[in-house]
Amino acid sequence: MGNLAPIVINHISQCPASGIKPDWCKNLFGRISLLVLHQIKFYRTYTMLFIAISLLAMRWTAAYMPNYLVVARQNNTNHLFLETIDGESGYVKIPSSIEPHTFRWPYCQMTANNDRNIVYSLVSFPYLPFLMRLGKAREAELKLVVQCRSSQMINQPRFTRKQAKHIDLVSWIAGQSKMTI
């Protein structure tokens, strides 16, 4: 196939354009050959198109695989909010996901055990550190988020709290201590 490609181009371009048709072009065999070669070119074009579309689809699929960040942000009243942000669309998935458990003057640091789907969030502020465990994301609900992302989120950057339920705060540990930094 690879060796035929330049021949195909030469024959098709030379035969009609030359004005003087060579012998091979006049006989039936030549015409059939030309037809076959034309078909090869025709299908080659579609094959190339198919490959290009496939590559684009693979790239699109890769770009739209879930890529979540669990983030901690602080607002102007010094409350802390833990949220999930889509790392490739920037959309906030769970605004104020633990809104009832906001903290003033927070220090926050997080780590994830992705084999167990747990995010640990160490939250502390003067004289009160908390160790919270953000719980397992349920598969069905997480799929819903992906679906929402592609179909609904373009003009809807924020979800309501009712929609944002695919992550659970299953437990938290609170302790009292004095910060030395």
Binding site: P66, N67, L69, A72, N76, T84, P129, I173, G175, Q176
Partner: protein, 242 residues
């Protein structure tokens, strides 16, 4: 939601890193005014956190940022010198601690550790993140004279840093840096938060090209503006199997 209180007035811990292999947590315990100790932290039950001290950091140094190689159980800590003392310095160190042989809850065997001075050409680093697939430690910092944020690669065993892979102008603070090598296609995705002005943060999405060893700059940037966005203080990648 369950909740409980730990009755330990002396417990102060920072910079936790979860180990999937050992199903435990490693982190820093404050063991003195200027002393920090890398420890194993176990959430035993509703009322108990067990802390096992494993490795003392050099005195007068604290962990400014940390990251974890969950595949090989290696803890990376960016160390800063305590400020405000007569001999305080702006130097930084990179601590690499291997917990492979450690057993949760036991003080022996001890982890192995290496400590190197960071030889940064650009200034102090603020955040680090380890990428497990390409085994690269990235760091982000800011030059406060030029207000340019930068991204570098740190060799954790020599302390050498690369030239800046990315420069972001008009930045006043650098926020969390996270890598996401779960779906490498054209490069390793990186997310970096930067603060532009008060109540305006940008989240940048870069891709690190592992072949060219360069970063595709500003592939996407999202802005978070308003009184709800004073700081992005922490970020972690989560739930990668979906």
């Amino acid at each position: 939601m369950d909740s409980w209180t730990v009755e330990d007035d002396d417990l102060t811990i920072f910079d936790l890193q979860a180990s999937s292999n050992k199903d435990t947590i490693f982190g820093i315990k404050v063991t003195g005014k200027y002393q920090r100790t890398l420890s194993n932290i176990i959430l035993e039950d509703e009322n108990l956190i067990t802390v096992t001290e494993l490795y003392d950091l050099p005195e007068y140094w604290y962990v400014n940022a940390s990251s974890y190689n969950a595949k090989e159980d290696i803890y990376y800590a960016l160390l800063n010198n305590f400020p405000g003392l007569s001999n305080s310095t702006l130097e930084q160190q990179i601590l690499v601690v291997n917990f492979t042989n450690c057993v949760p809850g036991l003080s022996e065997p001890k982890p192995t550790a290496s400590l190197m001075s960071i030889k940064s050409k650009l200034g102090q680093l603020q955040f680090i993140t380890w990428d497990p697939e390409i085994k690269v430690l990235f760091g982000a910092g800011i030059n406060l004279q030029t207000n340019i944020a930068y991204l570098v690669i740190i060799d954790p065993y020599t302390g050498e840093t690369s030239d800046s892979l990315v420069n972001i102008a008009n930045v006043t603070e650098v926020g969390p840096l996270v890598s996401h090598s779960n779906h490498e296609m054209t490069g390793i995705p990186l997310n970096l938060f930067v603060k532009k002005v008060e109540n305006h943060w940008d989240l940048h999405f870069f891709q690190y090209n592992t072949n060219a060893k360069t970063v595709n700059v500003n592939i996407l940037t999202w802005s978070y503006v308003g009184p709800e966005y004073k700081y992005f203080v922490a970020a972690v990648r989560a739930f990668d199997e979906y």
